[in-house]
């Protein structure tokens, strides 16, 4: 009995120091086979369920494969501009309904088949017929896709659309081989600079340089994407040399560990991820605009960012990111003003449920939001739900929540507020009209309309925007070519190198 007692007491101390020991795991997986200077190992937090982004939701798959293994006709560069990739150039007809893409010559799929206009028609038709994602509706605007000759493809739209070309730079525009879609979940076949060499489930994905790549060969021979369940484990792996790069820091307070400039380098850029405090517009008490406005006034966003995410990130105030052409700083719409908030609530108090995903940024932010809402008379009970499964089911699908907090990472995603069945349950026809007009109008009209739409969302207090998620990368000294901004869907490995 006595011995058991001591072991249990020791267990308490062990728990206290568990953070030191855990996680360095089975060391560097990227060094096998190829010479060390030729490969890099990059740490990520969420492993993809499979490798098929045409049928499985989730950001982890395009993050690993798009641009690296699969390529589209166009891609987004680091500034958010659309630049040519598999299309050398494209012409837009005067009525803005016909896009003629001139394809690059001598492009081959990793399976050996040449890339031609037939693959363009095949891939884009396939979006409509086989894809299972919600976002595939973005390409509903396509009327038909035709092959003019082997190196020319013509896309005709039902109406002019500003969003079309942008969507083509996302996973929706990825080019598939007509002979390479049999087993997308395990065997991706693309034209990109890398090919999948192995996938150890629950641990890592290995990419190897594609020997027959059409463009500039990537500097590295191999890349290992190593997946971690826990932010601290990933930090420890970098400290002990298990990985070379942390793709996205999930514990910003820990950055001090990497402060030594002789060993590490920190890159801080921007993302498209709006961390949204969602309010259920469809049921009391947040169906009342005054209550929603009170929430926005009650939250001290600067204090929230400083405490919940170590001051990293940016305050935004609506559903657009600073890299969008129509971005305006809307943080002034609802300044921190608890007295005003109380006045809007009219002295009433509310009990609400804040059902959040069990992710670090959400759990941290929720505690600050709860504390600040309590000051004005809104008592929010925090309930962390397992992410993704339970949160998606309860909050996202069934809409059973009052408040929630989630990082909406998709680029240019203001349109989700136009869908009144979306879990915000926001319903304002005016907003939908603005978005439709923006998509059909000229570029200037688009910018103006979307500015108005963002202002409308903010004025209506359709939600509260806590902060813009930062892109924080930490790498060993000597690693170059890191993508500073995470504004596209992929983690671009093409320029990654090691000195």
């Amino acid at each position: 009995m006595r011995r058991i007692g001591i072991w249990i007491a020791a267990g308490g101390l062990l728990l206290a120091t568990a953070a030191c020991g855990g996680g360095s795991g089975n060391g560097s997986a990227g060094t096998g086979g190829t010479p060390k200077a030729q490969s890099l190992s990059v740490g990520f937090v969420a492993e993809p369920a499979n490798l098929d982004f045409t049928s499985t939701e989730g950001a982890a798959i395009p993050q690993a494969l798009l641009v690296n293994v699969y390529e589209g006709l166009v891609k987004l560069d680091q500034n958010g501009e659309i630049v040519p990739l598999l299309a050398e150039k494209w012409d837009v007809s005067p009525d803005r309904k016909t896009y003629t893409f001139t394809l690059r010559e001598n492009v081959k799929f990793s399976g050996g088949a040449p890339f031609t206009a037939d693959d363009v028609t095949f891939s884009l038709d396939r979006v409509k017929s086989d894809w299972k994602l919600k976002i595939k509706s973005q390409l509903d605007v396509i009327d038909k896709v035709e092959k003019k000759d082997d190196s020319t493809a013509v896309v005709t739209l039902k109406r002019p659309s500003n969003g079309f070309l942008y969507s083509m730079a996302t996973r929706l525009g990825a080019m598939f081989s007509r002979t390479g879609v049999a087993d997308l979940a395990n065997k991706p076949v693309g034209t990109g600079p890398y090919v999948l060499s192995s996938w150890r489930r629950g641990d890592s994905i290995q990419l190897a340089a594609n020997p027959s790549y059409w463009g500039t060969k990537p500097p590295l021979g191999a890349i290992t994407l190593k997946y971690f369940k826990d932010a601290t484990a990933m930090n420890n792996a970098l400290l002990t040399g298990g990985i070379d790069v942390i793709s996205s820091v999930q514990a910003p307070e820990s950055l001090q560990q990497f402060a030594d400039p002789g060993r590490f380098e920190t890159v801080e850029g921007t993302t498209n991820g709006e961390v949204v405090l969602s309010m259920n517009n469809g049921r009391p008490p947040f169906d009342d605009k005054a209550v929603r406005q009170a929430v926005r006034h009650a939250i001290d966003h600067k204090a929230l960012l400083d405490t919940a995410w170590a001051g990293r990130g940016q305050l935004i105030g609506s559903m657009t990111a600073p890299t969008d052409p129509w971005y305006e700083d809307r943080t002034g719409d609802y300044p921190y003003d608890p007295a005003k908030a109380k006045q809007l609530l009219g002295g009433k108090t509310y009990n609400v449920k804040m059902r959040i995903p069990n992710l670090p940024y959400a759990v941290n932010s929720a505690q600050v939001v709860k504390s600040q809402l309590a000051q004005v008379g809104i008592n929010a009970e925090i309930e962390p739900l397992e992410f993704p499964a339970r949160w998606l089911d309860q909050v996202f699908t069934k809409g059973d929540y009052d408040l929630s907090i989630i990082n909406h990472v998709e680029p240019r995603d203001m349109g989700i507020f136009a869908d009144k069945s979306y879990y915000f349950r926001y319903d304002n026809p005016e907003f939908g009209k603005l978005l439709a007009a923006a998509d059909e109008g000229t570029e200037q009209e688009q910018t103006d309309d979307l500015k108005q739409a963002a202002k409308l969302l903010s004025d209506d207090a359709a939600a509260d925007w806590l902060f813009l998620f930062p892109n924080l990368i930490v790498a060993k000294k000597g690693v170059t070519g890191l993508p500073k901004n995470a504004i596209a869907e992929s983690f671009d490995f093409t320029a990654l190198a090691k000195q």
Binding site: M1, R2, I4, G5, I6, I8, A9, G11, G12, L13, L15, A16, T17, A18, A19, C20, A231, T232, N235, A251, P252, E253, S254, Q256, Q257, D300, K302, A303, L304, D306, T307, A308, A310, N358, V363, A366, Q367, V368, K370, S371, Q372, E381, I382, E383, P384, L385, E386, R390
Partner: protein, 286 residues
């Protein structure tokens, strides 16, 4: 002579353990009780200006990254810990003791077999896994954690209760009671339970220590007490990323957990020595 010396040594040790354990447990209980009426600061109030405040100036142990007072959080955390311990051990005892006694009083019957084999089955299932599973299905929270820890501790109580009951059942006074025609229920309540009580108290004390550790582990994993209610396990978890820059944030809850667990274990050990009839007899002989 040798017997006497060992008894003397034994008694000295058991008193030290009992006293130290009792003192630690009393400290935790007292802290928890005081936290109901007074804490230096509101333990859940976020104060950006006081982020990572150094100890001193009304903040005895400093503040965490949310500017919350660490000492106040520790105090309320003691309450959470005891609450989970009491309910979990309560569930375990309320289910385990009657089952164990029933099995002990009918040693050769099918009922005994059934109870003890189901018992083995539950015993083989790790408490933490059960709690994580319940948390995933019904939502994480203090209640699910308490129920899971409690249910997983049932077999320990059932086994101790059964073993003790078997010993008691062969004594003369039970034989006398049966000969006098007392009903089984009455025998269980009037004769068996009081005589196995001391062993159950020891078991409760040790189980309490295990429950504290389990609650801390669950909160650490995010399956325990919901934020922002202070809990020692979650304090540890939240201080993880600051382990290198502000190690005190992990140190204090770690020490609190270790002391509480140590306290209940020492208390259990001390009580066992103190209440053990054999040791009592040795003392009586002297």
């Amino acid at each position: 002579m040798s017997r006497r010396t060992s008894a003397k040594a034994n008694r000295g040790r058991m008193n030290a353990g009992l006293l130290a354990g009792g003192a630690l447990v009393a400290l935790v209980v007292l802290t928890a009780l005081v936290s109901f009426f007074w804490t230096p600061h509101d333990p859940t109030l976020v104060d950006a200006a006081g982020k990572l405040r150094e100890p001193g100036g009304g903040y005895l142990l400093g503040a965490d990254k949310f500017g919350r007072d660490t000492f106040s959080q520790l105090m309320v955390g003691a309450r959470t810990t005891l609450y989970v311990g009491v309910v979990a051990v309560g569930i375990a005892a309320a289910l385990g003791v009657p089952l164990g006694m029933a099995a002990g009083m009918t040693p050769r019957g099918w009922l005994s077999e059934l109870i003890m084999r189901v018992n083995d089955l539950v015993f083989a299932f790790p408490a933490l896994l059960l709690a994580v599973m319940l948390g995933a299905v019904y939502g994480a929270g203090t209640l699910t954690a308490m129920i899971a820890i409690g249910v997983a501790t049932v077999p320990a109580f059932a086994r101790v209760a059964r073993a003790a009951t078997l010993q008691v059942m062969v004594t003369d006074y039970i034989l006398a009671a049966r000969a006098a025609g007392r009903r089984r229920g009455a025998i269980a309540l009037r004769h068996v339970l009081p005589n196995i009580g001391s062993m159950l108290i020891v078991q409760a004390s040790v189980s309490f220590a295990i429950a504290i550790l389990a609650e801390a582990a669950l909160s650490f994993l995010g399956f325990g007490t919901r934020p922002p209610t202070p809990s020692w396990g979650r304090m540890l978890q939240e201080s993880q990323e600051l382990l290198f820059s502000t190690p005190r944030l992990a140190l204090w809850p770690g020490i609190a957990i270790a002391l509480a667990v140590l306290g209940f274990n020492l208390l259990g050990d001390g009580l066992r020595d103190f209440l053990d009839p054999k040791l009592r007899r040795i003392r009586a002989e002297r």
